[in-house]
Amino acid sequence: MDNIIELKKVVFDYTDENDLPVSVLDEISLSIERGSFTAVLGHNGSGKSTMAKLLNGLNKPSSGTVTVNGMDTADEKHEFEVRKTVGLVFQNPDNQIVASIVEEDVAFGPENLGVEPKEIRNRVDEALKSVGMYEYRTHAPFKLSGGQKQRIAIAGILAMQPECIVLDEPTAMLDPRGRSEVIETIQRLNREKGMTIVLITHYMDEAALADRVVVMDGGKVILDGTPMDVFGHVTELKSVGLDVPQPTELVTLLKADGVDIDTDVLDVDQCVEVLVKALHLEEK
């Protein structure tokens, strides 16, 4: 198995204003497989945003190691190589757009890397096309919708040609339409370009789209597996303040009441299917 990012016994803590140590991450070990789509779920304060910043070296672990393509993120000399390999997209699209014109903003990353002007042009055009914002390249970002701005932020990272994109709650500030635009873009990048995706979120329906779901609570990984596996643990998820997708919850509750039903359900269509099957069994 080829892992792009590896966390080994990562601890992250800091001292607050009263000099008391605050532990955010507690000996986390995790590896992200190349080309995979991983969702990290967690409640506020579970340490998931801190982890996002650890993945590209913006935060350095207090102890343990984070390696990206074998490079230790704590090593200053790999700083740019690591950030170029793992791009990070934040929650608020307004606060990550640097320039007043869409294409100039997308060019910011490659310009900093010292890429040739002609090559920058190609990368910018390609990045904007792959997020579906090419026709807006000469627009001013502040006139665009939240979803469009967030897609530009993604294009800005894509133009650096990363191998992995980490998105820290990219849809938290968007309306439903903007959310689906962004999620579709992420899925397409994963499927068509083989981009490794780490999506940090607290929306169950978004996490259900991933290949793998990691659930964090109190700075620890408490569940890790396919969406089916993870969402089966209804009581554990509820105890850490997370919900399960409603169809999953329904069938799990029915099962608990003694109904003979298949619980591998993530969306409404699958739910209807197993309910119909269960009803037929009942009749017989």
């Binding site: 950030r83 990070l88 920058i120 042009r121 001013a140």
Partner: protein, 274 residues
């Protein structure tokens, strides 16, 4: 109210002026401003006005946009005009006399002259910002100031240009935010449009404090986002858009040289209309 600010804004379009080299545009704007101050007499001013009108037609931006600026500066225009009307004493009899106020023909001429000159100054500088994106503008300033690198100020020039472009980038964002905070405070019963000056200034505090707070937060977020995109203070940075001088730049320079020449000629050999 806050959405009507057009000075300093950029209107994307595909015109000769938009595509001209921003460095040339900046230098020529400065040149035209100097020429406007050199212009003596209405003939020279008329030539300048004709030049400015031709220029704004070339920008393909609706003339309405330029006229909007008049709204913002009409008070200044009126005040300077009025001062000139009342203060300038000419030869011969005054046109109008009442107690200590006397108005002369020269005063009125001068007032019109100054008002037109100020208006042209505003138009020509808006033509620059309307047709040049903030990034181009700061990029051009950075390049124009690049001789400072020779005395070891290269880093400072880059930082200055970066600060300017970020400031310009965040103007609309902060205006939007101010509007939101104002609405939120109004919804909580804050009164901002009534009372005397001190009361109004006090009423601004609940707007300024959250705005300041969120700006600091934004600055922190932006710094992280810039780090994620490998920003390191401009060392080894390249530019997607290279600046090349082309035929249209030389044509513009040529136009301004002719303007300068005619204004200087008119200073030496004035044509008096009346």
């Amino acid at each position: 109210m806050l959405n009507n600010i057009t000075i300093g804004q950029y209107f994307p379009a595909n015109s000769v002026i938009h595509r001209a080299d921003p460095r040339v545009k900046i230098l020529l704007t400065v040149a035209v401003i100097v020429i406007l101050f050199l212009a003596s007499g209405f003939v020279a001013l008329g030539i300048c006005a004709a030049f400015c009108i031709l220029l704004i037609l070339l920008t393909k931006i609706p003339v309405k946009m330029y006229l909007k600026n008049l709204k913002a500066i009409w008070a200044v225009l009126l005040l300077t005009a009025a001062l000139n009307v009342f203060y300038i004493t000419g030869e011969g009899d005054p046109l109008f006399k009442w107690k200590f106020i006397s108005i002369y023909t020269e005063g009125i001429e001068r007032a019109v002259f100054i008002a037109v000159r100020i208006f042209l100054l505003i138009i020509i500088s808006s033509a620059l910002t309307y047709t040049t994106s903030p990034t181009e503008l700061t990029d051009a300033i950075e390049r124009l100031l690049s001789p400072l690198k020779l005395i070891g100020l290269g880093g400072a020039v880059h930082v200055f240009a970066m600060m300017m472009s970020i400031a310009l980038r965040f103007i609309p964002t902060l205006i939007e935010e101010t509007d939101k905070i104002m609405s939120a405070q109004k919804a909580r019963g804050a009164e901002m449009d009534s009372g005397n000056l001190i009361k109004r200034i006090k009423a601004m505090l609940p707007i300024m404090i959250p705005l300041l707070f969120s700006s600091v937060r934004r600055a922190y977020d932006l710094a992280e986002a810039m780090e994620c995109r490998c920003y390191n203070g401009g060392a080894g940075k390249t530019k997607m858009k290279q600046l090349h001088l082309s035929f249209r730049d030389f044509a513009l320079v040529f136009g301004v040289i002719i303007l300068l020449a005619s204004v200087i000629l008119l200073r030496i050999f004035p044509i008096v209309l009346f």
